[in-house]
Symmetry: C2
Subunit: 434 residues, 2 copies
């Protein structure tokens, strides 16, 4: 063996999942998967390695190169470890555009790699739930996506005091800005850019930039007022806007579904100027320590444009990562003792009993669906009990030579410390009643 | 948009998982995960990217470089997309060697990348079930691993006519070869190398090589005879060998567990000379078209040697890929209609009914745990039914303006084509009875 020992640490920004970590992740992704399947979303996946060019085509050479792990294979193909799922799912949809059953309700839980310095809530490798509806242009898909986002937090018993969905509409945003500013398309776009940066610059700079684009104090005040308006007040400023109508329909439907308490109209939600085209939303954690958008999403057009000519498929969806979700669940105390429920039996062993007597017990228990195992180490009884406790077993089965002769078995419940002696053939019955 | 359209094909040797593919994979991995949990194995995972050096340390610079996707990050770290799970799990075990609860029963279902030309049953990206027991030196762990391997095929209703586990023991192999050949350790090793190549060279070459190492025709015949012997006959040739005793114990225990019909002693199973140290086995598909080892495994020593000084942890385990498993299941007709079971309801919609009436229905159904969805497209009723059929929905719910007024709902079972009319408030009851 080589003299120099290797490090046991995982690569920077990535995590190891020991069984306890994995159990937690399987628990929360299991709940999410069930909730999505209940709502008839179907799961898909794609490869970890993708052609780098699909990210370049979407985000430009510089961003794709900088922010992905990428390399060239021996055939000269430029590959990237996938940094996001949208280009992959666009490729899948484009690849079977004439066969697929639109509208699609799809989800995926891929692991993704982004090349940036790790920070709270953002690691280099994370798992991301992606939920999308493809091929439905009406607000009904937006409603389904937002109500699904809410349901995914409600499965953890999160309530409306813990998070809020902040909703805006990009079509309405553009229309109302143009109406207030009185600008043409190009002018409105410039105004939008200033508004998008509102919280990132001092107030004076913001105002100066708007004045430079021809807006006076009155118009600036009108824009300011939008941030505290209800959806009805805001929509009334621009009633002929399709975006305003979508907002009204969406909020009415959320109300009808009993979801109004989770949702607020928020004119400050923009989510990048170039990508989203209709409804946009962000889910905000109300806890001060996680005081930022947990996740967000919205409606975008032309999903498949990079892959297929003369075809358009719109999408509306959202994505959120396991790290963010875990922070939310921990902050709000929403993780139960995932070991507390369920029977898990360790059959202890003694030297005066043939091993096959123990394998028979375990075989019978497993056939009856009872999670069980023989202690296969070489330690004495006391250490076997320690092994069971440390391994989160709920029960130990005890059968030494004298019990075997008497055709009896002892069972100790490690949670209550109660011990019972049973006839050997009553063991399955005992655990079925647990 | 750029004029040049991008390819919709996945990268060479990788696969896209459209919902039907994903549903199949989730189905079979779900069964495997349940069977492993029933036997008290615990799931772990690690990152997709690992330091290249852990593969170099195990397999040498050339193999590690040639057979992995690897590259250097901006910090000068050499990384590989993981080609196998053993170095990762060794790193995990080594990293918490003083805290972990040995013996460990661990499993993982990672995706792995190997850089080689794709062929039947071997792709560049595949998912591999890895099952191991760490820190137990006795045959009891070997028994648990082999009986688990059998149970993972039995969950698919595979029987002993479809596969067999071929078992040997490397300790026994070394001892019996040394006993027959009468060679010292170095000589025995040379003989073993020749035997390992037996099926890859013509018979004359095999015999010539053994003669060159000092074996005569009688000794060669004695070795030949091992290939058709029962485990008792073989063990009798070398009764003082620990390996022989392990084989006898293992086969007796398999017999006691009722697993004898799945297992054969096979002196031809070696599995590479340098890695395995005790029990070795391969699971062979009996179907002529898959006439090769589906998967194999065995016992190896010193798992953590590359990471920790003065500590040894032995392992026994096996791994098998999703592609191999799927081929086996298809060949033996073991995949049921995974869409046949389960209720999945599409609520169709009509323009003369407020949309909120439909969202209420779906909301009620989902609360009752019924998988359901509203049709959110813009097509007419006939097309909505087509959508339901193509989307593997089991039922459609039909409520036009007249039904709404009469407080009734129609339900059509798409499998039986039966249609019933119910009072609106009896809908959950109807599906609960399905």
């Amino acid at each position: 063996m080589c003299a120099q020992l290797l490090s046991t640490k995982p690569y920077k920004g990535t995590r190891d999942f020991y069984p306890a970590d994995m159990k937690l992740r399987n628990w929360f992704f299991g709940r999410i998967r069930s909730a999505l399947e209940l709502a008839s979303f179907e799961e898909y996946n794609g490869p970890m390695l993708e052609s780098l060019e699909i990210y370049i085509a979407k985000s430009g050479e510089e961003i794709a190169n900088e922010q992905t792990y990428n390399f060239t294979d021996r055939g000269g193909r430029r590959l990237a470890v996938r940094p996001e799922m949208t280009p992959t799912v666009a490729r899948l949809v484009a690849g079977k555009i004439n066969e697929l059953n639109f509208p699609l309700k799809w989800f995926s839980i891929p692991n993704l790699y982004r090349y940036e310095n790790p920070q709270r809530g953002r690691l280099r490798e994370h798992w991301q739930v992606n939920v999308d509806i493809f091929g439905c242009d009406s607000y009904e898909a937006d409603l389904e996506v937002i109500s699904t986002a809410i349901s995914l937090l409600k499965v953890f018993d999160a309530d409306s005091s813990m998070f809020k969905v902040h909703i805006n509409n990009r079509r309405f945003f553009n229309d109302v800005i143009a109406a207030i500013a009185g600008t043409d398309a190009e002018g409105s776009r410039k105004v939008s850019k200033v508004i998008d940066r509102k919280n990132k610059v001092p107030r004076e700079v913001y105002e100066k930039d708007l004045i430079a684009l021809g807006l006076d104090a009155d118009k600036i005040a009108k824009i300011d007022a939008l941030y505290t308006m209800s959806v009805a007040e805001a929509a009334a400023l621009c009633p002929e806007s399709r975006g305003a109508q979508e907002l009204i329909d969406l909020f009415a439907a959320l109300e009808a579904l009993g979801l109004a308490e989770y949702c607020v109209f928020d004119f400050g939600i923009i989510r990048g100027l170039d990508y989203y085209t209709g409804t946009v939303f962000e889910v905000l954690d109300t806890a001060p320590e996680n005081n930022r958008a947990m996740f967000g999403g919205g409606r975008y057009d032309n999903l498949v444009g990079l892959f297929v000519k003369n075809a358009t498929v719109s999408g509306v969806g959202f994505g959120f990562g396991d790290v963010t979700l875990e922070n939310f669940l921990i902050t709000h105390n929403l993780i139960p003792d995932i070991y507390a429920e369920g029977v898990k039996v360790l059959v202890t062993k003694f030297d005066d009993v043939p091993y096959s007597e123990y394998t028979k017990i375990v075989s019978t228990l497993r056939e009856a669906g009872v999670q069980s195992s023989i202690y296969i180490g070489s330690k004495k009884f006391g250490k076997q009990i320690e092994y069971a406790v440390k391994g989160n077993y709920s029960h130990v089965v005890i059968m030494g030579g004298s019990e075997l002769e008497a055709k009896q078995i002892k069972v100790k419940d490690l949670r209550t410390r109660e011990e019972v002696t049973l006839d050997s053939d009553k063991l399955v019955e005992y655990f079925s009643a647990q």
